[in-house]
Symmetry: C2
Subunit: 230 residues, 2 copies
């Protein structure tokens, strides 16, 4: 049976498209047929993850389980989730999914450890911060975790939702100020820990790859590696 | 039941990602949940369409039927195909597909008619030209069809396969020369009739939208319209 990777996306669609592009760019292919087989769910009616976690909103878990199920039924043999915050439900999703789900959070924390740098900043949603998803994984690896203070974090969130609403240029300016604030606090590298953030800081990450850990990019690298293993 | 659009892609993956981006850009959405639900097959092991048509190669039809079936099983209620040449098998695919497949070729020919221009050039694969896919639809609408001569067409093909192999910059230069040649032959507008071509002439199409009919773009517009119909 052929190896197909399923992308649970739609959270949001732009982040899903970014992950798709990264699969294409990171695959050593000289023709269509050498690219990695992907099935992509970009069904975006999944209840908002931040609202669920911070405002007791509807859980996104049933919808995510539904769409992962569709990918598996379609032949996916491995799943990646194009949303950091959604990883709060990672264990619940893996428990009902017959194929492996590669964790974006663990993969990004591993990349931070492998960077050789000690002070790791984070740009992510309020909900990702509140649940300690990255804090735990970073500190477990003996690294120092640095997050924005609360007024800065409000700007991070506003930037993310501005992108989701379609205004890339404004969102970019807001996020650029927040990565500067994290470096000023002593961060040596920053985890781009929300799938919208690598879209906003694409040029910076390209210019100084050592200072940015793009969680989407490192997860795609891991998935490509999974694909090419025997 | 919710409306989901299925994209039969992978022919190639870059063209599929381009179509996905166009869905995102053309949907009036202010948050994730307002975007159009998409299921995307980018399983690229579909036998090469041009080789099948011109060199008696393996037919891509069984693989395309397989992947359309996976999209329909996953809930797709309408299908779009991210490949012009693949439309040679449009009737065969529709015959075995229980939901409507929107034709990229007819949609692009309609857009040519609605442009009010008379002389319509075409940039497409050898196979799309050889099968007369666009010629028939253009002439049926009373328009004049203009294609590259054979040495020019060789450059068009080389450009498309150069992009599929990952070299965007070289492919762009080659395609720019060929659109100039078509305008010099009297074309008033050019159908970008291979899903790789809009990627190569993105800037030109943006600068002078009246002179370029992006088959991917007009199909996505039609699909968005289908989605928002009651």
């Amino acid at each position: 049976m052929k190896k197909i990777i399923g992308i649970l996306g739609g959270m949001g669609p732009a982040a899903t498209a970014d992950m798709f592009q990264k699969f294409i760019q990171l695959t050593p292919a000289t023709k269509d047929q050498e690219h990695i087989p992907l099935l992509i769910s970009s069904i975006p009616d999944i209840p908002d993850r931040s609202t669920a976690l911070l405002k007791n909103g509807e859980s996104p878990l049933p919808a995510m389980q539904d769409y992962v199920g569709r990918l598996v039924n379609g032949g996916a043999q491995c799943i990646v989730i194009a949303c950091n915050t959604a990883h709060y439900w990672y264990k619940d999703l893996q428990a009902t999914c017959p194929v492996p789900i590669l964790s974006m959070i663990e993969t990004a924390a591993d990349a931070a450890l492998n960077s050789g740098l000690k002070n790791i900043g984070i740009l992510a949603t309020n909900a990702t911060l509140a649940t300690g998803l990255y804090k735990q994984e970073i500190e477990k690896r003996g690294l120092t975790y640095i997050e924005p203070d609360s007024s800065e974090q409000q700007q991070v969130m506003e930037s993310i939702y501005t992108l989701k609403a379609g205004d890339l240029a404004t969102a970019q300016k807001m996020m650029q100020a927040q990565k500067e604030a994290l470096f000023a606090k002593g961060a040596q590298a920053i985890i781009l820990g929300c799938t919208e953030v690598p879209i906003l800081l694409a040029q910076e990450a390209k210019a100084e790859p050592r200072r940015y850990i793009d969680a989407t990019l490192v997860l795609v690298k891991r998935a490509v590696k999974w694909y090419f293993e025997k």
